[in-house]
Symmetry: C2
Subunit: 217 residues, 2 copies
DNA sequence: CCACCTTTGTGAAAGTATTCACAAACCAAC
DNA sequence: GTTGGTTTGTGAATACTTTCACAAAGGTGG
């Protein structure tokens, strides 16, 4: 059980958990793989296979207990605790993230924010005081920051990510449209809005090309 | 040539293009698949296979012409034109996006912003006047909005997405942590920050579990 | 306790994506 | 022109993911 788990499975587990929490709020007791699949955009076989990578959690004939499967998924995903998050770059997107109340509720607590801009250092943003980047190491260690968010201009993102890794942060969420190269023991995920828009652009352009060639015939 | 192209290929094409533009700025003339692969986190075979899905663009023995491959990729990705974008929900993240100057530069022009909050309607945000949601249809049609961004609270995201689809928007970028179900002829991509953080949480938790079991032995 | 209905868990099959490996092409230098 | 070094384009091989399909398990009602 639980060798290498594909990324796509982990993403789906998050979606299942989200649905389970919703169902929990409506006091539902059991849910079938079929129903779980429905809203997560997966198939029922996929739900069962994803879960079977970690164990057997369902009751044949009944489905999955909403409460206990929620707990199991939270355990698997590491969401039984609150993670401490540090944010670097209190600009437009960084400020939005500091004000993103859902993060707390979901187990991600932003405990520190850093910037190099003297005008921002010392100011409170959504209740958190912005620290100078030079205090990164001290504060990350004192607060026990485990996840870093990079929200700086792309030119300095790689450098910032390296510092975060060096100082012991184990995972980074990167908003800058740049590939970070950090040590393998630091996990990185990117949120790349331009990339997503370009993906949409490709689909729109392809649809138009198809339309155009159909009209030509 | 060019049947169904995997999503992973399209994402990599964007990354290749990004690198090519950087190389272009340094006046480089040719680049090999090996070098292109390097920074995009791919292999050279993958670069060549991705490109070969669309045609033959390289010169054996030399590599790819930076300028002409850039143009080709822009053509493929539909980036030879500027797309008109409409944003719904001028809150924290919506405001950050309105101020994201890079989007213009990359061919995505936010031409309209909508909200339901009377306090926001009519105000200028980064040079754009916020319109009431009730004007969605009129403005989308007048301005020719082609891509919609959903930046509303999750509870209303599905409804907003449906409206966008109904008034003729062909593609949606969704920031709300909700599955949208829209007609198949509307393309959707999601930017789901909580999902990404949960992915990191899984990796951190797994690493810890491994550590713990090693120490136990 | 048995017949019947439902839904899981899982090998095996099908389908996708990535990597390998090499002939064909190009360039440069002599 | 021919030799040698380089790099593409691509079929074939491998690896990975998803889907299929069904036996086994649980529940219900008689
Ligand atoms: N604005 C958006 O909506 C948006 C969306 C997605 C991605 N992004 C990306 O996020 C990043 C930030 O964008 P933004 O729009 O918030 O820009 P911004 O200019 O508003 O903010 C950048 C912040 O980073 C700070 N900074 C600069 N160098 C730093 C360093 N070395 N260490 C710490 N802080 C530093 C600046 O002082 C500033 O406060 C960019 O890479 C951008 O491409 C922005
Ligand atoms: N804040 C962040 O950094 C962040 C990051 C990622 C995702 N998100 C997601 O983005 C969405 C917005 O988050 P936010 O933090 O900006 O919230 P917010 O409350 O600051 O903004 C929401 C905005 O949407 C408007 N709105 C509400 N109902 C509307 C409707 N029916 N039509 C049009 N506009 C409507 C509100 O008036 C408000 O201006 C949420 O779904 C959130 O989960 C936020």
């Amino acid at each position: 059980m639980s060798g290498r788990i594909p990324d796509s499975t982990v993403r789906r587990l998050s979606l299942y958990l989200r649905m389970l929490r919703e169902l929990g709020r409506t006091n539902r007791e059991f849910v079938s793989s079929h129903e779980l699949a429905g809203r997560a955009g997966a198939t029922s076989a996929q739900v069962r296979k994803d879960l079977s990578l970690f164990g057997s959690f369902g009751k044949r004939g009944r489905g999955y207990s909403v409460g206990s499967l929620s707990n199991t998924l939270e355990e698997i995903l590491g969401l039984v605790r609150t993670w401490k998050v540090g944010l670097v770059g209190v600009g437009k997107i960084g400020t939005a993230l500091l004000g993103y109340r859902d993060l707390d509720a979901r187990g991600f607590d932003i405990v520190a924010a850093f910037d190099v801009d003297a005008a921002k250092i010392g100011k409170q943003v959504f209740g958190l005081t912005v620290s100078p980047l030079s205090d990164l190491e001290r504060i990350v260690k004192e607060c026990g920051v485990e996840i870093g968010i990079v929200a700086t201009p792309p030119e300095v993102a790689a450098e910032v990510a390296k510092s975060l890794g060096d100082v012991g942060v184990g995972a980074i969420l990167n908003f800058a449209p740049t590939e970070l190269q950090v040590s393998d023991c630091v996990a990185v995920r990117a949120v790349d809005i331009v990339l997503e828009l370009e993906g949409l652009s490709y689909l729109l352009a392809t649809a138009r090309r198809l339309d155009a060639s159909k009209t030509d015939e």
